[in-house]
Amino acid sequence: MKGYRILIVEDDVDIVETVKYSLEVKGFTVDVAHDGLHALRKARMEPVDLMLLDIMLPGKNGYEVSRILKEEMDQGKVEPFPILVLTARKVASPEREDFLKTWSKADEFMYKPFDMKRLLARIAVHMEGSGAAAEAGR
Protein backbone atom coordinates (compact mmCIF):
# COMPACT_ATOMS: atom_id res chain seq x y z
CA MET A 1 0.00 0.00 0.00
CA LYS A 2 3.01 2.26 0.23
CA GLY A 3 2.60 5.38 -1.82
CA TYR A 4 -1.21 5.43 -1.73
CA ARG A 5 -2.34 8.46 0.19
CA ILE A 6 -5.82 8.73 1.68
CA LEU A 7 -6.99 12.01 3.10
CA ILE A 8 -9.56 11.66 5.90
CA VAL A 9 -11.65 14.81 6.35
CA GLU A 10 -13.52 14.42 9.62
CA ASP A 11 -13.94 16.52 12.77
CA ASP A 12 -14.79 13.63 15.10
CA VAL A 13 -11.46 12.57 16.60
CA ASP A 14 -12.66 9.08 17.59
CA ILE A 15 -13.86 8.30 14.07
CA VAL A 16 -10.60 9.64 12.64
CA GLU A 17 -8.54 7.40 14.94
CA THR A 18 -10.57 4.29 14.11
CA VAL A 19 -10.57 4.77 10.34
CA LYS A 20 -6.94 5.93 10.28
CA TYR A 21 -5.82 2.83 12.19
CA SER A 22 -7.79 0.50 9.86
CA LEU A 23 -6.22 2.09 6.79
CA GLU A 24 -2.70 2.18 8.20
CA VAL A 25 -2.97 -1.52 9.04
CA LYS A 26 -3.70 -2.06 5.34
CA GLY A 27 -0.59 -0.07 4.48
CA PHE A 28 -2.13 3.21 3.30
CA THR A 29 -0.51 6.51 4.08
CA VAL A 30 -3.14 8.52 5.91
CA ASP A 31 -3.42 12.25 6.27
CA VAL A 32 -6.11 14.06 8.23
CA ALA A 33 -7.96 17.38 7.95
CA HIS A 34 -10.45 18.42 10.61
CA ASP A 35 -12.33 21.09 8.65
CA GLY A 36 -13.36 21.93 5.10
CA LEU A 37 -10.86 24.70 4.38
CA HIS A 38 -7.97 22.66 5.74
CA ALA A 39 -9.10 19.77 3.49
CA LEU A 40 -9.05 22.00 0.39
CA ARG A 41 -5.55 23.25 1.21
CA LYS A 42 -4.19 19.73 1.74
CA ALA A 43 -5.82 18.31 -1.40
CA ARG A 44 -4.34 21.14 -3.52
CA MET A 45 -0.86 20.94 -2.02
CA GLU A 46 -0.15 17.21 -2.16
CA PRO A 47 -1.46 14.49 -4.50
CA VAL A 48 -4.31 12.47 -2.98
CA ASP A 49 -5.35 8.97 -4.13
CA LEU A 50 -8.72 9.01 -2.37
CA MET A 51 -10.59 11.29 0.01
CA LEU A 52 -12.91 10.12 2.80
CA LEU A 53 -15.09 13.14 3.43
CA ASP A 54 -17.50 13.94 6.25
CA ILE A 55 -20.43 16.31 5.55
CA MET A 56 -20.98 18.25 8.76
CA LEU A 57 -17.67 20.07 8.96
CA PRO A 58 -16.59 23.43 10.34
CA GLY A 59 -15.64 26.02 7.72
CA LYS A 60 -16.93 24.51 4.47
CA ASN A 61 -19.26 21.53 4.56
CA GLY A 62 -18.50 18.29 2.77
CA TYR A 63 -20.85 18.97 -0.16
CA GLU A 64 -19.01 22.24 -0.88
CA VAL A 65 -15.55 20.74 -0.47
CA SER A 66 -16.43 17.93 -2.89
CA ARG A 67 -17.89 20.24 -5.52
CA ILE A 68 -14.98 22.70 -5.38
CA LEU A 69 -12.40 19.93 -5.72
CA LYS A 70 -14.28 18.11 -8.51
CA GLU A 71 -14.54 21.38 -10.46
CA GLU A 72 -10.82 22.03 -9.96
CA MET A 73 -10.16 18.47 -11.18
CA ASP A 74 -12.22 19.19 -14.32
CA GLN A 75 -10.20 22.37 -14.89
CA GLY A 76 -6.93 20.47 -14.45
CA LYS A 77 -5.94 22.43 -11.36
CA VAL A 78 -5.97 19.34 -9.12
CA GLU A 79 -5.03 15.73 -10.02
CA PRO A 80 -8.26 13.66 -10.19
CA PHE A 81 -9.06 11.36 -7.26
CA PRO A 82 -12.25 9.67 -6.01
CA ILE A 83 -14.22 11.23 -3.16
CA LEU A 84 -16.10 8.89 -0.85
CA VAL A 85 -18.47 10.75 1.43
CA LEU A 86 -19.12 9.35 4.91
CA THR A 87 -22.24 10.95 6.34
CA ALA A 88 -24.43 10.52 9.39
CA ARG A 89 -27.49 11.53 7.31
CA LYS A 90 -28.44 14.97 8.61
CA VAL A 91 -30.77 15.99 5.76
CA ALA A 92 -34.41 15.28 6.68
CA SER A 93 -35.78 15.55 3.15
CA PRO A 94 -34.72 12.72 0.81
CA GLU A 95 -35.32 14.97 -2.22
CA ARG A 96 -32.92 17.60 -0.87
CA GLU A 97 -30.43 14.89 0.00
CA ASP A 98 -30.57 13.56 -3.59
CA PHE A 99 -30.06 17.06 -4.92
CA LEU A 100 -27.05 17.68 -2.67
CA LYS A 101 -25.51 14.37 -3.68
CA THR A 102 -25.70 15.27 -7.35
CA TRP A 103 -24.60 18.85 -6.72
CA SER A 104 -21.55 17.74 -4.70
CA LYS A 105 -20.29 15.52 -7.61
CA ALA A 106 -18.90 13.06 -5.03
CA ASP A 107 -18.24 9.51 -6.30
CA GLU A 108 -20.05 7.64 -3.53
CA PHE A 109 -21.95 8.14 -0.30
CA MET A 110 -21.74 5.80 2.70
CA TYR A 111 -23.77 6.20 5.83
CA LYS A 112 -22.43 6.12 9.37
CA PRO A 113 -22.07 3.82 11.17
CA PHE A 114 -20.47 1.87 8.34
CA ASP A 115 -19.04 -1.62 8.28
CA MET A 116 -15.26 -1.30 8.26
CA LYS A 117 -14.82 -4.24 5.88
CA ARG A 118 -17.32 -2.71 3.50
CA LEU A 119 -15.50 0.63 3.65
CA LEU A 120 -12.21 -1.07 2.79
CA ALA A 121 -13.94 -2.96 -0.03
CA ARG A 122 -15.37 0.27 -1.48
CA ILE A 123 -11.96 1.97 -1.24
CA ALA A 124 -10.57 -1.00 -3.17
CA VAL A 125 -13.24 -0.59 -5.86
CA HIS A 126 -12.41 3.09 -6.29
CA MET A 127 -8.73 2.31 -6.56
CA GLU A 128 -9.34 -0.49 -9.03
CA GLY A 129 -6.61 -0.76 -11.56
CA SER A 130 -4.17 1.08 -9.39
CA GLY A 131 -2.79 -2.15 -7.91
CA ALA A 132 -3.98 -1.25 -4.43
CA ALA A 133 -7.45 -2.73 -4.93
CA ALA A 134 -6.89 -6.38 -4.26
CA GLU A 135 -4.91 -5.83 -1.12
CA ALA A 136 -7.25 -3.16 0.34
CA GLY A 137 -10.33 -5.35 -0.02
CA ARG A 138 -8.78 -8.36 1.65
Binding site: A88, K90, P113, F114
Partner: protein, 236 residues
Protein backbone atom coordinates in the same frame (compact mmCIF):
# COMPACT_ATOMS: atom_id res chain seq x y z
CA UNK B 1 -102.49 53.74 -1.15
CA UNK B 2 -99.48 52.85 -3.31
CA UNK B 3 -97.44 52.13 -0.15
CA UNK B 4 -99.09 48.79 0.62
CA UNK B 5 -97.97 46.88 -2.52
CA UNK B 6 -94.50 48.42 -2.19
CA UNK B 7 -94.25 47.33 1.43
CA UNK B 8 -95.38 43.82 0.51
CA UNK B 9 -92.82 43.76 -2.26
CA UNK B 10 -90.07 44.80 0.18
CA UNK B 11 -91.18 42.19 2.70
CA UNK B 12 -91.17 39.47 0.03
CA UNK B 13 -87.76 40.59 -1.10
CA UNK B 14 -86.43 40.52 2.47
CA UNK B 15 -87.92 37.05 3.00
CA UNK B 16 -86.13 35.87 -0.16
CA UNK B 17 -82.84 37.38 1.03
CA UNK B 18 -83.27 35.69 4.42
CA UNK B 19 -84.15 32.35 2.82
CA UNK B 20 -81.40 32.43 0.20
CA UNK B 21 -78.64 33.69 2.49
CA UNK B 22 -75.73 31.21 2.16
CA UNK B 23 -75.01 31.12 5.90
CA UNK B 24 -77.45 29.59 8.41
CA UNK B 25 -79.72 32.29 9.88
CA UNK B 26 -81.88 31.98 12.97
CA UNK B 27 -84.04 34.74 14.29
CA UNK B 28 -85.06 34.56 17.94
CA UNK B 29 -87.59 36.48 19.98
CA UNK B 30 -86.68 38.11 23.27
CA UNK B 31 -87.44 34.83 25.06
CA UNK B 32 -84.70 33.23 22.91
CA UNK B 33 -87.33 31.15 21.08
CA UNK B 34 -86.74 30.37 17.41
CA UNK B 35 -89.03 32.44 15.19
CA UNK B 36 -87.50 31.89 11.77
CA UNK B 37 -84.73 29.89 10.21
CA UNK B 38 -83.54 29.70 6.62
CA UNK B 39 -82.76 26.77 4.33
CA UNK B 40 -79.05 26.87 5.20
CA UNK B 41 -79.95 26.55 8.90
CA UNK B 42 -82.15 23.54 8.13
CA UNK B 43 -79.33 21.94 6.19
CA UNK B 44 -76.77 22.65 8.92
CA UNK B 45 -78.81 21.48 11.90
CA UNK B 46 -80.87 18.77 10.22
CA UNK B 47 -84.09 20.20 11.79
CA UNK B 48 -87.07 21.22 9.68
CA UNK B 49 -88.34 24.66 10.67
CA UNK B 50 -91.76 23.39 11.75
CA UNK B 51 -90.04 21.01 14.21
CA UNK B 52 -88.33 23.74 16.16
CA UNK B 53 -90.44 26.85 15.66
CA UNK B 54 -91.21 28.62 18.96
CA UNK B 55 -88.84 26.35 20.92
CA UNK B 56 -86.01 27.84 22.98
CA UNK B 57 -82.77 27.90 21.03
CA UNK B 58 -80.64 26.20 23.66
CA UNK B 59 -83.16 23.38 24.11
CA UNK B 60 -83.02 22.63 20.42
CA UNK B 61 -79.50 23.21 19.18
CA UNK B 62 -77.81 23.48 22.57
CA UNK B 63 -75.80 26.62 21.99
CA UNK B 64 -73.06 26.39 24.57
CA UNK B 65 -72.50 30.08 25.12
CA UNK B 66 -75.89 31.64 25.68
CA UNK B 67 -74.39 34.43 27.76
CA UNK B 68 -73.82 36.57 24.68
CA UNK B 69 -77.51 36.38 23.82
CA UNK B 70 -78.69 37.03 27.34
CA UNK B 71 -76.15 39.89 27.40
CA UNK B 72 -77.88 41.49 24.41
CA UNK B 73 -81.23 41.12 26.17
CA UNK B 74 -79.86 42.68 29.36
CA UNK B 75 -78.27 45.60 27.57
CA UNK B 76 -81.36 46.66 25.67
CA UNK B 77 -80.59 49.76 23.73
CA UNK B 78 -76.82 49.34 23.53
CA UNK B 79 -77.22 47.07 20.50
CA UNK B 80 -73.90 45.31 20.65
CA UNK B 81 -73.05 42.56 18.22
CA UNK B 82 -71.04 39.59 19.43
CA UNK B 83 -69.14 36.94 17.54
CA UNK B 84 -67.80 33.76 19.07
CA UNK B 85 -66.74 30.22 18.27
CA UNK B 86 -68.94 27.57 19.80
CA UNK B 87 -70.58 24.24 19.10
CA UNK B 88 -74.17 23.50 18.25
CA UNK B 89 -76.00 20.18 18.35
CA UNK B 90 -77.47 18.76 15.16
CA UNK B 91 -80.70 16.76 14.99
CA UNK B 92 -78.63 13.55 14.91
CA UNK B 93 -76.99 14.63 18.18
CA UNK B 94 -73.56 15.34 16.71
CA UNK B 95 -71.67 18.50 17.65
CA UNK B 96 -70.88 21.02 14.92
CA UNK B 97 -68.16 23.65 15.46
CA UNK B 98 -69.52 27.03 14.34
CA UNK B 99 -68.82 30.74 14.39
CA UNK B 100 -71.92 32.42 15.80
CA UNK B 101 -72.57 36.08 15.22
CA UNK B 102 -75.44 37.37 17.34
CA UNK B 103 -76.96 40.73 16.67
CA UNK B 104 -79.99 42.53 18.19
CA UNK B 105 -83.11 42.95 16.06
CA UNK B 106 -84.20 46.53 16.64
CA UNK B 107 -87.71 47.76 17.14
CA UNK B 108 -87.79 51.53 16.89
CA UNK B 109 -84.95 53.57 18.37
CA UNK B 110 -84.44 51.81 21.68
CA UNK B 111 -86.63 48.77 21.38
CA UNK B 112 -85.56 45.17 20.94
CA UNK B 113 -87.71 42.61 19.16
CA UNK B 114 -85.27 39.72 19.22
CA UNK B 115 -81.89 38.46 18.13
CA UNK B 116 -80.52 37.46 14.75
CA UNK B 117 -77.99 34.63 14.71
CA UNK B 118 -75.65 34.02 11.76
CA UNK B 119 -74.21 30.53 12.09
CA UNK B 120 -71.13 29.64 10.00
CA UNK B 121 -70.12 26.01 9.72
CA UNK B 122 -66.48 25.57 10.80
CA UNK B 123 -66.14 21.84 10.15
CA UNK B 124 -64.01 22.33 7.02
CA UNK B 125 -61.89 24.97 8.75
CA UNK B 126 -61.36 22.66 11.74
CA UNK B 127 -60.47 19.80 9.40
CA UNK B 128 -57.88 21.94 7.59
CA UNK B 129 -56.56 23.28 10.91
CA UNK B 130 -56.20 19.70 12.15
CA UNK B 131 -54.29 18.72 9.01
CA UNK B 132 -52.03 21.77 9.29
CA UNK B 133 -51.31 21.04 12.94
CA UNK B 134 -50.54 17.43 12.07
CA UNK B 135 -48.21 18.55 9.27
CA UNK B 136 -46.42 20.97 11.62
CA UNK B 137 -46.11 18.26 14.28
CA UNK B 138 -44.68 15.88 11.71
CA UNK B 139 -42.21 18.47 10.40
CA UNK B 140 -40.99 19.14 13.97
CA UNK B 141 -40.71 15.41 14.63
CA UNK B 142 -38.81 14.90 11.40
CA UNK B 143 -36.36 17.67 12.28
CA UNK B 144 -35.77 16.30 15.79
CA UNK B 145 -35.43 12.78 14.39
CA UNK B 146 -32.88 13.85 11.77
CA UNK B 147 -30.81 15.68 14.41
CA UNK B 148 -31.07 12.74 16.80
CA UNK B 149 -30.13 10.28 14.08
CA UNK B 150 -27.07 12.36 13.22
CA UNK B 151 -26.08 12.68 16.89
CA UNK B 152 -26.42 8.91 17.40
CA UNK B 153 -24.71 7.78 14.20
CA UNK B 154 -21.42 9.64 14.74
CA UNK B 155 -20.50 8.05 18.10
CA UNK B 156 -21.93 4.76 16.84
CA UNK B 157 -19.51 4.93 13.95
CA UNK B 158 -16.53 5.09 16.33
CA UNK B 159 -17.93 2.30 18.56
CA UNK B 160 -18.66 0.01 15.61
CA UNK B 161 -15.30 0.77 13.99
CA UNK B 162 -13.36 -0.06 17.14
CA UNK B 163 -15.40 -3.21 17.77
CA UNK B 164 -14.71 -4.42 14.24
CA UNK B 165 -11.03 -3.56 14.56
CA UNK B 166 -10.85 -5.77 17.66
CA UNK B 167 -12.77 -8.52 15.85
CA UNK B 168 -10.27 -8.39 12.98
CA UNK B 169 -7.73 -9.58 15.54
CA UNK B 170 -10.07 -12.18 17.05
CA UNK B 171 -7.42 -14.93 16.76
CA UNK B 172 -5.56 -13.15 19.57
CA UNK B 173 -8.67 -12.92 21.81
CA UNK B 174 -10.33 -15.61 23.93
CA UNK B 175 -13.71 -17.02 22.86
CA UNK B 176 -15.63 -15.14 25.61
CA UNK B 177 -14.28 -11.75 24.53
CA UNK B 178 -15.09 -12.46 20.87
CA UNK B 179 -18.65 -13.46 21.86
CA UNK B 180 -19.08 -10.16 23.75
CA UNK B 181 -17.69 -8.16 20.83
CA UNK B 182 -20.11 -9.90 18.44
CA UNK B 183 -22.95 -9.02 20.83
CA UNK B 184 -21.84 -5.34 20.83
CA UNK B 185 -21.73 -5.42 17.03
CA UNK B 186 -25.29 -6.84 16.86
CA UNK B 187 -26.68 -4.26 19.29
CA UNK B 188 -25.02 -1.42 17.37
CA UNK B 189 -26.83 -2.66 14.26
CA UNK B 190 -30.08 -2.51 16.24
CA UNK B 191 -29.48 1.10 17.30
CA UNK B 192 -28.46 1.89 13.72
CA UNK B 193 -31.78 0.52 12.41
CA UNK B 194 -33.72 2.66 14.91
CA UNK B 195 -31.70 5.78 14.02
CA UNK B 196 -32.27 5.08 10.35
CA UNK B 197 -36.04 4.65 10.76
CA UNK B 198 -36.57 7.73 12.96
CA UNK B 199 -36.29 10.46 10.29
CA UNK B 200 -38.50 8.46 7.90
CA UNK B 201 -41.58 8.45 10.16
CA UNK B 202 -44.58 9.78 8.27
CA UNK B 203 -47.42 8.60 10.54
CA UNK B 204 -46.31 8.66 14.20
CA UNK B 205 -47.92 6.03 16.44
CA UNK B 206 -47.61 5.99 20.19
CA UNK B 207 -47.93 3.35 22.86
CA UNK B 208 -48.18 3.51 26.64
CA UNK B 209 -44.95 3.81 28.57
CA UNK B 210 -44.26 3.43 32.30
CA UNK B 211 -46.44 5.64 34.50
CA UNK B 212 -49.15 6.12 31.89
CA UNK B 213 -46.97 8.33 29.69
CA UNK B 214 -47.17 7.93 25.94
CA UNK B 215 -44.07 7.19 23.89
CA UNK B 216 -43.34 7.12 20.18
CA UNK B 217 -43.74 3.57 18.89
CA UNK B 218 -41.13 3.39 16.14
CA UNK B 219 -42.15 -0.08 14.97
CA UNK B 220 -45.86 0.75 14.78
CA UNK B 221 -45.34 4.15 13.11
CA UNK B 222 -45.70 4.53 9.35
CA UNK B 223 -42.45 5.14 7.50
CA UNK B 224 -41.51 6.56 4.13
CA UNK B 225 -39.77 3.98 2.00
CA UNK B 226 -36.02 3.94 2.40
CA UNK B 227 -34.15 5.40 -0.54
CA UNK B 228 -31.08 3.85 -2.06
CA UNK B 229 -27.96 6.02 -2.38
CA UNK B 230 -29.04 6.83 -5.96
CA UNK B 231 -32.43 8.00 -4.73
CA UNK B 232 -34.46 4.95 -5.73
CA UNK B 233 -36.60 3.28 -3.04
CA UNK B 234 -34.67 0.31 -1.68
CA UNK B 235 -35.91 -3.00 -0.35
CA UNK B 236 -36.97 -2.76 3.30
Amino acid sequence: MKDKPRRRESRDHLAKVFESFPEALLSLDTGLRIVMMNAAAEELTGFRRQEIARRRVNAVIGVAQLRYMTGILRERGSFTTASFITKIRSKEGGEIPVRLVVSPLRRGRRGLSGILCVVSDLRDVKRIQGKLLEAERLAALSEIAAGLSHAINNPLCAILGNTQLLLMESDRLDAGAVKKLRSIEREISRIQRVAERLPRITRPASSEYVGGRRMLDIEASGHARRRSPRGRPAKQ
